[in-house]
């Protein structure tokens, strides 16, 4: 019996001293991904001329579908964004036009923030697209973390390599660094204000920093979030952009 218990301790990653990368990715996905979610958020963009806040509401199903409606400021109000798999459309009420965002535009900044359209679309499960290995430990805000290095195993990802500082108790990244294929650091994310939502831990505040831009970065704050809610299909149609 003792031997069986010992074997369990060795082979079940949750009980071992250093879990495997795959195990951690699975745990992170359990926290960060959901079948569906609806949330309202604020994006505070710190530019060289000052800061501005953009408010929005997002409906999303899995990693394939999402719909965002901008609520403020007045200039951006009622602008909508629809993502269906790897396609993105944007609707602006001022022009009454639905524009498809593709090619190099996907790498452009959204509303002057440190996030690109590609980042906004990037809801993919890490486990599906990356292989991972634990490369060390660190402490962030007094919380012990594993440092996890991710390498892309599929081609349809925006970043070839990621480095995650994963909270050892909550299995949630507290810091992420996103790298290009050349190894150049492109973006850094600091995740904080971690709260419990049912069985999952979720960050309510993310500071994005585009490392190629000057400025203090963009704060992404979730005001309110609901997981696994039913969202009607019409929400993810191009017709709903004009409603």
């Amino acid at each position: 019996m003792k031997i069986v218990f010992l074997l369990l301790v060795i082979y079940v990653p949750g009980f071992s001293q250093t879990p495997s990368g795959e195990y951690l990715l699975d745990k992170i996905d359990q926290n960060m991904s959901s079948d569906s979610r609806v949330f309202t958020s604020k994006m505070v963009i710190h530019g060289r001329r000052g800061s501005r806040t953009v408010e929005s509401k997002t409906w999303a199903i899995g990693e394939e579908k999402s719909f965002t409606e901008y609520l403020a400021p007045a200039r951006e109000k009622d602008t909508k964004m629809l993502k269906l798999e790897d396609q993105l459309w944007m609707y602006s009420p001022a022009t009454d036009r639905t524009i498809q965002i593709s090619g190099h535009m996907l790498r452009q900044s959204v509303m002057g923030s440190d996030l690109s359209y590609e980042d906004m679309m990037d809801d993919k499960k890490l486990q599906t697209h990356y292989t991972a290995a634990v490369v060390g430990t660190d402490t962030i805000e007094s919380r012990p973390c594993w440092i996890l290095e991710l390498q892309a195993k599929t081609k349809d990802v925006a970043y070839e390599m990621r480095k995650l500082w994963v909270d050892q108790q909550r299995y949630l990244p507290l810091r992420q660094e996103l790298y290009a294929k050349s190894g150049k650091l492109l973006k850094r994310m600091e995740l904080s204000e971690i709260v419990r939502h049912g069985k999952r831990w979720y960050p309510m505040h993310i500071l994005f920093k585009d490392m190629l831009k000057d400025g203090k970065g963009t704060e992404f704050m979730v005001d309110d979030i609901e997981f696994d809610v039913t969202i009607p299909d019409y929400r993810f149609s191009k017709a709903s952009l004009r409603r």
């Binding site: 602006s92 190099h104 535009m105």
Partner: protein
């Protein structure tokens, strides 16, 4: 004496044909290269000044640091009062405000959805202001291929190549998607009223020309501009005056530590023009030097051969009492004549080819597909006043130098040896 020498040269073809041919070819090359480089440089400077740099340009310090990225979020504010100030301080100059912007130009189908789209490089200029002279400066009206000039806000021009790529015709609606000065989303519909071809590859690929006020509205840039460009009277650039002006203006704003305070740059300080001009002038200088040296060696050699052929003649002249200095100076005089004739022929041929290249030009657009600099797609030579005499410098210098070197042998011949040679 001169008449005697000229007759001798003309009657003895062996003495003149080869040197004149060499000098003519060299002078022709000198004139041609001078005209070509002047033309190419002049066009590059004019194009750059008109489209990008002005004779002087004012930007915010932060914008100037990242100018290549067209950072409108770092644009100059309060441009109205700044331009009034500039008009007061420099009344003989023309000051124009411009906004450059990048973005996406989207063409709708009948349902208002994307039919075609492409990245656009926009320039907003004062299209409806007669005092700005922008339409003439950028040669917009004459560059229209199809359609007409914008007459009211909301009307734009796009480059003809871009229009073909997007399948847009005059009268079609397009949507511009860009970023405001504060980073917000800028989307606006416009009517394309004409297509243009500037003959500048970077512009012809994906340009959009709109009115400055239209751009201020869509990009949320009230009383702001990316750049203020200054042009001297009659559009003639004076580097000395530009340097003085830049020094005075920047000194005035030096105490202001704000990163959005204005800074003035002269034409040469932008786009690496100074170093390019320096490089080209040293290239021309080096070319002329190498050419003079090479031609001198050839002519020295020709004069040596000629000297051998005229060994007897020179010997006889020395024997009958003509002094060595006189023989030497008469040969130098001959070379001046040959140099002059060769230079005239070379200059005439060089000018002829240069005039042809000035009129017809040389289309290099195929090799500039990925170039983003303001370079004209057709390069032309420019026949300058200097071109009429520049060839005489190497033409005369090399013949005289060649003869002078070859003629040194005259002084080495002593009388005793001379008579012995003449017996033979």
């Amino acid at each position: 004496m001169l008449k005697f020498l000229v007759k001798g040269i003309l009657r003895d073809h062996h003495r003149s044909r080869f040197p004149i041919l060499i000098v003519s070819a060299g002078v022709m090359l000198t004139v041609l290269i001078h005209c070509w480089v002047s033309g190419v440089l002049g066009e590059m400077i004019d194009t750059s000044a008109a489209f990008a740099t002005g004779h002087v340009k004012i930007m915010s310090r932060a914008y100037a640091e990242n100018e290549g990225q067209i950072p409108n979020d770092l644009a100059l504010s309060g441009v109205g009062s700044l331009v009034s100030e500039l008009n007061q301080d420099y009344p003989d100059m023309t000051w124009v405000e411009r906004i450059k912007f990048g973005g996406l130009l989207d063409v709708p189908d009948s349902n208002g959805e994307t039919r075609s789209q492409g990245p656009v490089m926009g320039i907003a200029v004062q299209l409806f202001s007669e005092n700005s002279g922008e339409v003439e400066r950028l040669n917009i009206e004459k560059s229209i291929v199809k359609g007409r000039m914008p007459r009211q806000p909301g009307e734009v021009l796009i480059s003809d190549q871009f229009a073909e790529k997007l399948d847009v015709s005059p009268g079609d609606q397009v949507t511009l998607m860009s970023s405001t000065m504060y980073g917000g989303m800028a989307m606006q519909n416009y009517i394309v009223v004409g297509t243009i071809s500037f003959g500048v590859v970077a512009m012809d690929r994906s340009a959009m020309i709109m009115d400055f006020t239209d751009a201020q509205i869509v990009l949320d840039m009230t009383d702001s501009a990316g750049e203020i460009l200054g042009y001297f009277e009659n559009n003639i650039y004076s580097d000395e005056r530009a340097r003085r002006m830049v020094a005075a203006f920047n000194m005035k704003y030096e105490p202001d530590t704000d990163e959005f305070a204005p800074i003035m740059l002269r034409l040469g300080e932008q786009n690496g023009l100074d170093s390019m001009l320096e490089y080209i002038s040293s290239f021309i200088g080096m070319f002329i030097l190498i050419f003079v040296a090479a031609m001198s060696i050839v002519l020295w050699n020709a004069a040596l051969i000629g000297g051998l052929r005229r060994y007897g003649e020179v010997g006889l002249r020395l024997a009958i009492g003509e002094n060595k200095g006189h023989v030497y100076s008469s040969m130098l005089l001959e070379s001046v004549f040959i140099g002059c004739v060769g230079s005239v022929i070379g200059t005439v041929i060089g000018l002829g080819i240069s005039y042809y290249l000035q009129t017809v030009g040389f289309d290099i657009s195929d090799s500039l597909q990925n170039v983003t600099m303001m370079i004209p797609s057709v390069f032309r030579a420019h026949v300058t006043a200097q071109a009429y005499y520049i060839g005489f410098i190497p033409g005369l210098f090399s013949t005289v130098l060649g003869t002078a070197l070859a003629g040194i042998g005259i002084y080495r011949r002593n009388t005793a040896r001379l008579f012995k040679e003449l017996e033979v």
